[in-house]
Each structure stands twice: as structure tokens, then as C-alpha cells.
Amino acid sequence: MAEADLPNGKSMSIIITKGTLDWAYPPFILATTAAAMDVKVTMFFTFYGLGLLKKNLKLSVTTLGNSAMEMPMMGGHMKMPNMMSMLPGMTGLTSSMMKKLIKKKGVASIEELREAAELSDVRLIACQMTMDLFGYKPEQMVDGLEYAGAATYMETALKSDINLYI
């Protein structure tokens, strides 16, 4: 959609640097909601955030370095000790617990939000440098991406009303 078509004429850019299940939510929720509110949105995916543009997502969340993480357990909420992340299979367990909770509470999956972003013409930019650095191939990634770098981001950011780094 051309900028002129949007009634409020506002724009937002977001840099996404993290690719875990928990860090994936804020950028996709804000991007899709902004687009629904007629804001022109650009998302720039770099470093670990770039993984969120892969066709097949296998997102996980870990207790490691995440000492605020609590999970509902036995009717209450339990802090998840950092130490637990050392146990084999623990990241898989915390990830599947989180995904169950997401479903139970009627929260959208990242796949759904990403699809909503695509359908609402959010501009998705994949960092070309990170593609090279991590050896990702365009055929692994979702369709409709722009491959570009920092100057492209800057040009957009300089014209945007809101710029976020997540």
C-alpha cells in the first residue's frame, strides 16, 4: 500500500535482533497492530532475528539467562532456575510448555502473526550481511522479502515516526 493511501500517514520501523520464542512476540505484535491502525511498517531482521523469516520456524525459549521466567506449575507460578537449562531436553520442555500456554490463552502463534504481517503489507527486510554470515539461502526464507543492508534501513528510519530496536 502506498503511503498516501494511509489516512494517518504515520510510519514505524523495527529492528529485530533476537530469534527466540519470547523475543519474537513484541516486534510481531507491534508490527501487525500498527499495520491494522494504518501505520506503514518496516521490519528489519538482523543477526538472530533473521531466523524468524525462515519458512520452517522451530522457536524455543530457555531458562538460561532468563531469571525472571516463571511458568504455571501445580496451580501456582514457579521460577525456573538457570541451572535447569543445563539438563538435557530442558529447552525443549520449556518451549513446549510455553507453546501450550500460548494456545490455551488464545495468544496468536508467531507463524500466524507473521502471516498477518505479510497480508497487511508490512515491509520485511532481511539483512543481507547476516544471510552471508550465517550461510542462509533465500530458498529457506519466506517469499516476498527484500534483501538489503544498513543504508536501506537508515533511509527508512530517517523518514519514520517511530523507530524501535528489539
Binding site: P7, I29, A36, K105, V107
Partner: protein, 75 residues
């Protein structure tokens, strides 16, 4: 009676807003969309959505844990 109905009960942020926007986009100017939601955050969010997009929040009521909104599409 609204022109269209959106049942967003059980859905959490931002899905009620995203689904409302999607449905409003298919409707004509002046038509109304009735939305049912259970997300308590939807109350503030639909007010903000309407103020920002220029659509009119024609009605807003609550029946137990179900929130009901009627949005009139403007522009």
C-alpha cells in the same frame, strides 16, 4: 443490529484488533461491525484503534465477561 458480526471471544491481544481490521476492510463506508471479545485489554485497545484510524466506536457494553463493541466504518 450491526451489519456484520465478529466473534473474537477467547482470543488475546492483538488478534481481536487484527481480525476487526481485516473484516472492516471488506465493508463499505457507514457499515457497522459488532465485535464480541473476552480480552479485558480490548476495551482500551478498541478505543485507541478507533481514535487512530478514524473509525467510529458507536457502542460499547459489557455482559459478564463478554465485551461488545460496535464499530462504524468511516473512510
Amino acid at each position: 443490529m450491526a451489519d456484520q458480526l465478529l466473534d473474537a471471544k477467547g482470543l488475546n491481544c492483538p488478534l481481536p484488533i487484527l481480525k476487526a481490521k481485516k473484516q472492516l476492510a471488506t465493508m463499505g463506508n457507514g457499515q457497522t461491525l459488532e465485535i464480541l471479545a473476552t480480552d479485558p485489554g480490548a476495551v482500551k485497545d478498541f478505543e485507541a484503534f478507533c481514535r487512530t484510524t478514524g473509525n467510529k466506536l458507536a457502542e460499547h457494553s459489557q455482559d459478564g465477561s463478554v465485551y461488545r463493541f460496535v464499530i462504524e466504518r468511516v473512510a
